[in-house]
């Protein structure tokens, strides 16, 4: 058959059942992405004869004799297509994984279609941006500012990889051609709890193209946790690479490696496995009961299925409740959701000629994956290299080692490169989720609203494995309990094993769950006392003069590096009263309401976190920065360049950056818990400062002056009238044996706090339960904005994710533990049509702890979203919806107008 792709004509025979997407990628057109392979996300959009289609759904043979255009063929020569340019100008991407499909879709729209964006963009999902910046690009808004030497910090500078992202040339994890590649697939458990009696490999090995089959008998019998924390003691060692007991539907049972994905898949289908089905338990309360089947006997459990129990009390809640004029008590529940980073999990492992092993992966913590692989396989650390290139989103989902281990195992056995790429279905049944938590809140208050006691009890369903279980529980009892001043506080929490898909790290990390409960409860209390929700919060919210205390009386390393919660409250109140909003939809039966919620988050985790950076002056007068942290759309490469540039008086573009690579960058604990700015950013700043000192001291030495007499500019050191170009300086110094190099490490302590306040105005239809967001206002206290555009992007993305949690996303299980909607078709993350514009405002603060005044910003904005929506629904209808999500079918019967 004859094909023409991006102007290249050739003949080829696609496989009969092959779709156009893989046919294009096989030819190296890696700009064509896979987000779902099922038609739902649009990441694979290409044009066939000028019409946009989803290439994962089109049989490849149907593209024969037609003209195919991919993102890589959209520009004419060096001239970008106007939509590509608009995406750069607006920086309409974060991880950039959806951009190829977005651009190919938007570039194909005519004027009439552009007039109806909700409909024409609903087939393109973006998990990072909340669509605001994409809308900006369509409207021709320019969000980037100029890169001026010395002014890098505080400027909205673009992502250095932007041009690669908009042209499809940026390389994500799977975008690599490896000679002799083999493909790994796993067979997943059909039972929620079962012992494997036997696995017959023979029929699988008989499938043509199958190279090897691995079962629990072939893996190192070594326990570990898939969760990636430097302090590996915080997660239980409760997992084997492959086990003879399966504890949730979807757990991996066996791995098959084949010459092709098709062969590996056929091998999985051919395996015969005999199971002894065991009793299963899905509800954590039932799992705590004495007669419940116990999942683990590994020594790490507190008792039975309770993996961890955390308690604390300050003051005396008994006295506090005794003093109260009013007591509110209620149980609130939050749901399990999936991260849906658009790039699925995956890695590729190979051996180089020197015998070293290389693992290219989609991870938020390549250094910890490196440590874990060394632990599992007994490698000498220097023999292993783990790295990322572009990572298509993380949100906590990639703070997990899920694919690297089996690829390495197969590589060791076969000696050939191995690739394993998760399907979208596997993301739902075989990755991690947000911990489902049930929180009982009891509040006591005086008639004037002053809190006298706060008590919470959290039960967290960690599923079959306990990774992140105790840390998320501790987080749920920590910042949200510190947000209000009260002499008497008590909390207790339980992390419970059940036969569900495991919980994991997820943006907001436990704090989201209890913030939902506490912020709803505060509103309930306000209603009970007849006090306005703003007033009640202001009366009790923590102030800069307060001692930060959750439920433990011991001292912590959390301090107010700055405080802007009061400003956030004022900003949201003002904007809700006066800001732009949409009118209530036409027609009867709409009830309107407003709601607010606040959230406090510690900038960084309480556990060990450190990061390092190396910087060098290059012969051409530019700089090279190596930093361990990961970029997955969080914007850290951009902000790190800005931090370094501002210290060095340079332009951000003068700084080359490499990150998240165990060979090329110093150790970093991983990019999660908002550490990209406060830890890695700190390391970058310290390193840049050391390099500046190095350069200035050298100049002082050779000119017999003092370092203070000199300053760094874009391409020179300047002192009085003297000016030495960096190129000249580098040449001189190097010849004399000087090294313009610096390395520093940063450690996370003390930790500052960030605040977010969300205001929502909505209309809810009392008959159909439809919810329309009329106004969304968000105020953030995140210190100095290193890159305002990026801060807005993170907040918009967090809000969209919060809206999904509250309104559209729902993992629906049957009573045997099977997920009924393991696809984006039926697990709906918000599309363009679901996300209103948010008015984003910032408190004017400068942090004394974070680098250059900045605080954490990547995750805290999600926390007040769901409670603000519940509070607005409460205001509109007088009904408290205390269980997420609020889909119309789950709320309608409580809304009906009563006669």
């Amino acid at each position: 058959m004859n094909f023409s792709i991006d102007g290249h004509a050739f003949s080829a025979e696609p496989h009969p059942g092959q779709c156009l997407r893989t046919f294009l990628r096989e030819r190296g057109d890696f700009g064509v992405k896979k987000g779902c392979d099922q038609g739902d996300c649009g990441a694979c959009t290409v044009w066939v004869d000028g019409a946009p289609i989803h290439s994962c759904l089109m049989p490849a043979f149907r593209a024969a004799d037609r003209k195919v255009t991919t993102i890589q063929g959209l520009a004419s020569g060096d001239a970008l297509h106007p939509v590509q340019q608009a995406f750069l100008d607006a920086q309409a991407f974060q991880c950039g994984y959806c951009s190829a499909g977005m651009i190919m879709t938007i570039a194909a729209l005519d004027e009439t279609q552009r007039a109806d964006l909700p409909r024409h963009l609903k087939g393109n999902l973006c998990r990072c941006t909340g669509y605001a910046a994409i809308h900006d690009a369509i409207d021709g808004v320019v969000n980037v500012s100029d890169d001026i030497a010395g002014n890098a910090c505080g400027a909205s500078l673009p992502n250095p990889f932007g041009p690669g992202i908009v042209t499809g040339h940026a390389r994500y994890t799977m975008d690599l051609d490896v000679a002799g590649l083999t493909h790994l697939k796993v067979l997943r458990a059909p039972h929620a709890h079962a012992r494997i009696r036997s696995i017959d490999k023979a029929p699988a090995l008989a499938v043509p193209g199958v190279l090897a089959v691995f079962t629990w008998e072939d893996v190192p019998r070594r326990l570990y946790s898939t969760a990636t924390h430097e302090d590996h003691l915080v997660d239980p060692d409760d997992t084997y690479m492959l086990d003879d007991v399966v504890r949730f539907v979807g757990q991996r049972v066996a791995a098959v490696v084949g010459e092709s994905e098709a062969a590996a898949e056929a091998g999985c289908r051919a395996l015969t496995v005999e199971y002894e089905v065991l009793p299963a338990v899905f509800d954590p309360e039932l799992a705590m009961a004495p007669q419940a089947p116990v999942l683990h006997h590994k020594g790490g459990e507190a008792h039975g299925n309770v993996f961890a129990e955390i308690r604390g009390e300050v003051g005396s809640i008994a006295e506090g409740f005794a003093e109260a004029d009013a007591i509110h008590e209620r149980t609130y529940t939050t749901s399990r959701v999936q991260h849906v980073h658009l790039e699925t999990h995956g890695s590729i492992a190979w051996k180089s000629d020197d015998g070293r092993i290389h693992v290219r992966t989609s991870s938020q913590a390549p250094f910890i994956a490196h440590e874990k692989l060394c632990h599992l396989f007994g490698f000498i650390p220097a023999d292993l290299h783990v790295f990322t290139e572009r990572v298509g989103g993380g949100f906590g989902g990639k703070q997990e080692m899920l694919t690297e281990d089996l690829c390495v195992l197969a590589l060791l056995k076969l000696g050939r490169p191995v690739k394993w790429e998760y399907t979208r279905e596997e993301q739902f049944i075989g990755a991690s989720t947000r911990h489902q938590m049930t929180t009982r809140v009891k509040l006591g208050a005086k008639a004037d609203g002053t809190l006298t006691a706060i008590e919470i009890r959290v039960v967290s369903n960690t599923g079959a494995y306990g990774g992140h279980g105790s840390e998320t529980l501790a987080a749920s009892l920590s910042s949200p309990m510190s947000a209000y001043r009260c002499a008497n506080k008590k909390g207790e929490g339980f992390v419970v094993y059940t036969n569900m898909v495991p919980g994991g790290g997820f943006r907001g990390y436990g704090a989201s769950q209890s913030t939902f409960a506490i912020e709803c409860a505060m509103d309930d209390l306000a209603k009970l006392l007849g006090i306005d929700p703003f007033t009640l919060r202001r009366r009790n919210m923590v102030t800069a003069d307060d001692w930060i205390e959750a439920i433990w009386s011991g001292v912590s390393d959390v301090e107010f590096g700055s405080y802007g919660l009061d400003q956030c409250m004022d900003l949201v109140e003002e904007a809700l009263a006066t800001g732009p909003r949409r009118p209530v939809p036409a027609g009867e039966h709409w009830a309107e309401g407003t709601g607010i919620a606040l959230a406090m988050l510690e900038s960084g985790p309480p556990t060990e976190h450190r990061s390092g950076a190396v910087m060098e002056l290059l012969p051409d007068g530019r700089y090279h920065l190596a930093v361990g942290s990961t970029e997955m759309g969080n914007g850290s490469v951009t902000s790190h360049r800005q931090l370094a540039a501002s210290v060095l008086g340079a332009r951000a573009q003068d700084i080359d950056i490499i990150n998240a690579d165990t060979d090329k960058a110093p150790f970093d604990t991983g990019t999660f818990a908002s550490t990209g700015t406060v830890v890695a950013g700190q390391a970058v700043m310290l390193t840049a400062t050391a390099l500046r000192q190095n350069i200035l001291s050298y100049v002082a030495r050779i000119t017999a002056t003092k370092p203070d007499d000199w300053a760094l500019e874009a391409d020179a050191v300047v002192g009085g009238n003297a000016r030495i170009s960096l190129v000249e300086l580098h040449a001189k110094g190097t010849a004399a044996g000087h090294r313009f190099l610096a390395k520093r490490k940063a450690y996370l302590s003390p930790r500052t706090v960030a605040f977010n306040v969300q205001g929502i105005r909505l209309a809810v239809h009392r008959i159909t339960g439809d919810i329309e967001i009329l106004q969304s206002v968000h105020a953030a206290d995140i210190g100095r904005l290193i890159n305002p555009m990026q801060c807005r992007g993170q907040i918009n993305g967090s809000i969209a994710m919060g809206l999904g949690w509250a309104l559209t996303e729902h993992m629906d299980y049957d009573d045997t533990g099977h997920l009924k909607n393991a696809a984006l078709r039926n697990y709906r993350i918000p599309s363009f049509a679901d996300v209103p514009r948010t008015q984003i405002l910032f408190a004017d603060t400068y942090d004394t702890i974070g680098p250059l005044g900045a605080k954490a910003q990547g995750e805290c904005a999600i926390n007040p979203i769901a409670p603000a929506i519940s509070n607005a629904l409460f205001d509109a209808t007088g009904v408290r919806f205390a269980s997420l999500p609020f889909t119309p079918d789950r709320i309608f019967d409580q809304l009906q107008p009563r006669p």
């Binding site: 779709c19 609903k122 393109n124």
Partner: protein, 276 residues
Amino acid sequence: MDINTIRQIERPRAAAEVTHWREGFAWLSGGTWLFSEPQPALDTLIDLRAFDWPDFTLGPDGLKIAATARIGALDALAPPPEWTAGPLLSLCCRALLMSFKIAHEASVGGNICMSLPAGAMISLTVALEGTYTLWPREGAPRTVKAVDFVTGNHANILEPGELLRSIHLPAAALKKRFAFRRSSLYHLGRSAALLIGTSGPDGDLLLTITAATFRPVQLHFAAPPSAEEVRHAIAAAIPHDGYFDDVNGLPAYRRHLTFHFAEEIRAELAGPGAAA
């Protein structure tokens, strides 16, 4: 996605050439569902596009739609003004979760043969009193009423290898007045309930209930019914467990919407503009 079990694509010129039908075969229309899931039971696809059927035939007797016509093309079709119910074509084409890019490939016949509750091409053709022409592998073509085609969620009356050839929408139905209601749990999503009412010159009401139920339910009222009559008719026609249950809407909700929308439709069609 790649359907790795497929070993062969056949592209015959005419359906009559397909005399060797066996298990493992499937007709390939737009491919938008077939390629969206693994199909372990299939090994051969027979390409319907090779037949080159003309998409639409408009005539005094109504509209004939080839099963292979794309949903996007139907959406773009400009119906003659005397077809009062013409706007339903586009409303239904847009009542699907799928992106316009998928509608560009997905076919009307493919959507009908999938026979999902949220199949808006089923809603359309049932509401407009359509008939389907089916070509069995052996024997003479048969014609069935659209309302009788779907038998359950993802189930229909097609025999193995039987082909949906075309859909005919009679002009009389296209000339009726109509009312349309649809709901989804999120914006522009999959239908939780899709109801259509039509009313002819004699002021009757033909109420078509889809998406909420496993299969289309159609109720005819010869004269404009009262709210009470409509409620009774629905309650009699659809048992409590007759509402579809999946993540796109709990059954109680779908039932609630059915009654609510039915009443809105009744009131709308009984209102001004009702049969003179």
